[in-house]
C-alpha cells in the first residue's frame, strides 16, 4: 500500500538532514599567517563572495567556528598556538590546509618551519598553490561540503573512524 504524502513533505535520514544544515553554514576560523591570508580575504570579499556558499561568517574566536582555514606557513613557535585554537573549536569541526606552506612547508625547508600542519593536527582538505587563487579555495570548500554531506552523521561517528584519527603524515613511533 503506497503511503500518501503531501507534495511539501520529504522523507530523509536525520544524518543527511543534519549534514545538509551543517555544510551550508560553515563558519571559518581564519588562521592566516602569510600571503595565503590575502587570498583568503579576497575569497571572503565581494568579488568572489564566499557568501554564495554559506561560509562567509569569519569569526576570530575559535568558540564560534567549525572550519579552520590554515593559510600560510606555520613556524614552530606558532604551532602550539595553532593546536590550542584547534582544540578550542567545537565539534564537529573541519580543517582546510591552504597553500603549499601549510600543507608541506613549501620552499621553507628550514629549521623553524613546520613541514606540513597535517603532521600535528587533522586536515580534511588540501589546497595546492602558492598562493592558491580564491577559486581554488572556493572549490575546496565545495568539496568539503560534498564530503560533509556524504559521510556526515548527527553525532560525528565518522570522526571516530581509524583512518581519520591520526593526522595524515604524523610521525608514528
Amino acid at each position: 500500500m503506497a503511503l500518501e504524502l503531501p507534495d511539501n513533505v520529504v522523507i530523509t535520514k536525520l544524518d543527511d538532514l543534519v549534514s545538509w544544515c551543517r555544510k551550508n553554514s560553515l563558519w571559518p576560523m581564519p588562521f592566516a599567517t602569510a600571503c595565503c591570508g590575502i587570498e583568503l580575504m579576497a575569497t571572503g570579499a565581494s568579488r568572489h563572495d564566499l557568501a554564495r556558499f554559506g561560509a562567509e561568517v569569519f569569526r576570530f574566536s575559535p568558540r564560534q567556528c567549525d572550519l579552520m582555514i590554515v593559510a600560510g606557513r606555520v613556524v614552530m613557535k606558532m604551532l602550539p598556538v595553532l593546536q590550542r585554537i584547534w582544540l578550542q573549536m567545537h565539534e564537529p569541526k573541519w580543517c582546510i590546509s591552504m597553500g603549499a606552506c601549510a600543507s608541506t612547508g613549501g620552499v621553507f625547508d628550514t629549521y623553524s618551519v613546520v613541514q606540513g600542519i597535517d603532521r600535528f593536527i587533522p586536515v580534511d582538505m588540501y589546497v595546492p598553490g602558492c598562493p592558491p587563487r580564491p577559486e581554488q579555495l572556493i572549490q575546496a570548500i565545495i568539496d568539503l561540503q560534498a564530503k560533509i554531506q556524504k559521510e556526515g552523521t548527527m553525532f560525528g561517528r565518522e570522526f571516530a573512524e581509524p583512518e581519520r584519527q591520526l593526522p595524515k603524515r604524523a610521525l608514528r613511533p
Binding site: Q83, Y111, Q115, P122, L166
Partner: protein, 183 residues
C-alpha cells in the same frame, strides 16, 4: 636647481663628511692605538680589539657625537678564507648632527664568545643584542635582560651559526600530535 649645482652640493657635503670622519678616526687612533682603519666606497670602517670595545664605543658616543646606534649584527666567519677569528660583530653608528656614519667591527673567538654590552650607551641596543645572542650565541656581558627574542625559550641551539644544519636538529618535529579523539 641646475644639475651642476646639485653635483656641487653633493661634492661639498661629501667633503665635510669626510673631514669630520677623518677627525673622528684621528681621535680614535690617539686614544686606542690598536684600532685598524679602512675605507670602502666612502664609508669609514674601524676594527676595534675586543678588550677596548666598550671604551672605544663610549668615546665615539660621548666625545665624537655618534648618538644613534643603527644596528648591531654579527657574521660567522667559520668557513671564510683567511679569517683568524670566528665571529665578527658589526656596529653601525650615526652622528645625527653631522650625518657622519661609522662601521665598527669587533672580532671575538670561540670558546664562549662574549663582548661588553652597549645597552648603557644606547638603549636601543637591548633587543639588537638579544637577537645576536639568540641567533649567534654571542654573550653580552652586562646586558640587563639577555633572553632569546625570536626563537622559543626552550630552543637550545644558535641557528645562524654556520655549523648549524639548515633543516635543524629535529626541533620543528618535536610537538605532540593531536588526534580527532582529543577534539
Amino acid at each position: 636647481m641646475r644639475d651642476d649645482e646639485v653635483t656641487e652640493l653633493r661634492m661639498s657635503r661629501r667633503e665635510t663628511q669626510t673631514m669630520t670622519t677623518a677627525t673622528t678616526l684621528q681621535r680614535l687612533a690617539e686614544s686606542f692605538p690598536a684600532v685598524e682603519t679602512s675605507e670602502f666606497r666612502g664609508e669609514a670602517r674601524v676594527i676595534v680589539p675586543r678588550g677596548a670595545a666598550y671604551d672605544a664605543l663610549a668615546m665615539l658616543k660621548t666625545e665624537c657625537g655618534f648618538d644613534m646606534l643603527i644596528d648591531v649584527t654579527c657574521v660567522d666567519y667559520l668557513v671564510y678564507r683567511g679569517a683568524t677569528k670566528r665571529f665578527g660583530l658589526v656596529y653601525l653608528l650615526l652622528n645625527t648632527a653631522s650625518g657622519e656614519r661609522l662601521t665598527v667591527r669587533i672580532f671575538v673567538d670561540e670558546p664562549n664568545p662574549s663582548v661588553s654590552s652597549v645597552v648603557s650607551l644606547w638603549e636601543g641596543a637591548n633587543w639588537l643584542e638579544r637577537e645576536v645572542w639568540d641567533l649567534f650565541g654571542i654573550y653580552f656581558e652586562g646586558h640587563p635582560d639577555l633572553r632569546r627574542i625570536l626563537l622559543p625559550e626552550e630552543f637550545t641551539a644558535h641557528p645562524l651559526r654556520k655549523d648549524y644544519p639548515m633543516q635543524g636538529r629535529g626541533e620543528r618535529h618535536n610537538f605532540p600530535v593531536i588526534t580527532r579523539a582529543e577534539g
